[in-house]
């Protein structure tokens, strides 16, 4: 509670969280209040501020509809990837750091291996091999499964540091088992840290999805901000000056990612003095 109060005192955090909640609300409420249609409704690339406030795409589809869908898809992918990466990384990291020994060595080895093998390459290889059935969920899953090692490494170091604290010894002579020690006596100490890692993972998930979509390996079942950009690029919007084809989605991605960075940076400032103590 006190923590939340401190966070809300930071203007950076307030700005970040407001922007971020704003995009979420837009993605959730937008489709309820705006008649979404993904059919051809106008001519190719009709200019904005006319019949269609943000114009139409190369197929004559309404951009507001596309953007609302795309925003939702991007947020979904970010949360999915972030949740998977943070969960796997945190569990493996906490466990490895606490247990040590051979299991820790093995987790460490896998972590180090997948930290140096570029995850974007793995993403390209897997996405490329799923010619059909490459869904938004699959992409989120792959991003999550390729980015957890960073979290695992960071969390492991923290967990190993906490393990030798006296309160862990006390918990053990209270008879608390390994699981309880991990969840009750280590995890809370890492919670703020894990939260910040999660925020960064969500941001990087959104960016990864945009990047993979832009090179043409995006989801086949949904419209995301990345696929909108990919289509704009493929249909010459960039060189022809059809700004409404890429500026709005560009702004949306930037705003989300920026908001998340703001939250992360400000939270770090608030959490850190506590951690040091």
């Amino acid at each position: 509670m006190k923590l939340l109060k401190n966070l809300l005192k930071s203007p950076m955090f307030v700005a970040g969280i407001t922007l971020f909640l704003g995009t979420i609300i837009l993605a959730l409420i937008g489709p309820l209040t705006y008649p979404i249609t993904l059919e051809r409704v106008g001519s190719q690339y009709s200019t904005p501020f006319g019949r269609f406030f943000l114009g139409t795409d190369h197929l004559g589809r309404d951009y507001i509809s596309l953007l609302l869908r795309g925003l939702r898809a991007s947020l979904y992918v970010g949360f999915l990837a972030g949740t998977i990466a943070t969960t796997i990384g945190t569990l493996l990291g906490i466990y490895g750091g606490f247990k040590g020994g051979i299991i820790d060595d093995m987790i460490n080895m896998i972590t180090n291996l997948f930290i140096v093998i570029p995850s974007f390459v793995v993403l390209i290889l897997i996405s490329g091999s799923f010619e059909d059935g490459r869904s938004l969920t699959l992409i989120g899953l792959i991003i999550g499964l390729t980015t957890w090692p960073w979290t695992a490494r960071a969390v492991r170091a923290q967990s190993a540091a906490i393990k030798s604290k006296d309160h862990i010894s006390l918990a053990r002579i209270n008879g608390d088992g390994t699981l309880l020690v991990l969840l009750k006596h280590i995890l809370p100490y890492l919670a703020s840290y894990v939260f910040m890692v999660f925020i960064l993972q969500v941001a990087s998930g959104i960016l990864s999805e945009a990047a993979i979509s832009m090179i043409g390996l995006g989801p086949l079942d949904s419209i995301s901000l990345g696929t909108i950009l990919n289509q704009a690029k493929n249909n010459g919007a960039l060189g022809d000056g059809v700004w409404w084809a890429f500026i709005p989605s560009t702004i949306m991605i930037t705003v989300i990612v920026f908001a998340l960075y703001l939250i992360n940076t400000s939270a770090e400032g608030v959490f850190n003095p506590r951690l040091r103590k």
Partner: protein
């Protein structure tokens, strides 16, 4: 020297950390025994392996070599062991989980008991234990560890011992982080535990002067080894190890006057 009735018996007990080149031998070939009902002090400088030895007696570390017996059976890391052997640690601030109230953590201690008492009984025993260490229950109700002073926190650890009433208490430098006034109090409580409960106490300290007052026997540790053991008078009046001499030299003048 190994006595059949010893409560703890160590034979070449050793503990190493790490592997290969980075190996650290924290406890090195120690052989000793501790009898029921006595107060034994383990004295030595910082980093000499006292805490590791204490944690081995608690079953938190296993010996990597040699044996460590409790009542003629190897020490285990089970609730059964912890029902009888309990501890207070050095740093009172880091001993409790910051995210839960003190009282709820005192309640957690009941987890190791074979039969958990009734809810009402638990509350009553906590209140009594708090009173035993001179803290009024309302002083800590709803409070988190960081809201108390160091002296209060150290007394919370002792209250936990009053709740659990173990046979053996391992006190790892319980007085090193508190000021002189609180230190005297804590020693009083330790004495009270010994008298009332006939507890065996292993008192870990770097202060040989303090150990002299409270113990029946002293073990002097250096570099993981027990370099000398004996009664307080034997050890302080005619030390046989240079390490003991050095520890004696570190005592403030005022103390030494009392000893000699």
């Amino acid at each position: 020297m190994l006595n059949k009735n010893s409560i703890f018996a160590a034979n070449n007990c050793t503990r190493e950390f790490g592997t290969g080149k980075k190996i650290v031998r924290a406890v090195d070939n120690t052989t000793f025994s501790i009898e029921s009902g006595e107060i034994v002090s383990i004295v030595g400088g910082s980093g000499c392996g006292k805490s590791v030895l204490a944690k081995m007696m608690l079953g938190l570390y296993k010996p990597t070599d040699g044996t460590l017996l409790y009542n003629n059976a190897p020490v285990t890391n089970t609730k059964i062991h912890w029902r009888e052997v309990q501890a207070v640690f050095q740093d009172p601030f880091s001993c409790f989980n910051q995210f839960f109230t003190i009282r709820s953590q005192l309640k957690d201690a009941f987890g190791i008991l074979q039969e958990k008492p009734s809810h009402k009984e638990i509350e009553k025993r906590i209140d009594n234990a708090l009173l035993a260490v001179n803290i009024k229950p309302h002083e800590i109700s709803g409070k988190y560890p960081f809201e108390l002073s160091g002296g209060q926190m150290q007394r919370m650890l002792l209250a936990r011992i009053f709740i659990l009433r173990p046979k053996v208490l391992i006190a790892d430098e319980p007085t090193s982080m508190v000021d002189a006034c609180v230190r005297a109090n804590i020693l009083d409580y330790l004495m009270k535990l010994k008298e009332e409960l006939k507890m065996t106490i292993v008192f870990v300290t770097h202060d040989i002067g303090l150990a002299y007052y409270v113990s029946d026997r002293l073990f002097i540790m250096h570099n993981g080894r027990i370099v000398e053991q004996g009664t307080p008078d034997e050890v302080t009046l005619s030390p046989r190890s240079e390490h003991t001499v050095r520890l004696l030299e570190d005592i403030p003048e005022i103390h030494r006057a009392w000893i000699c």
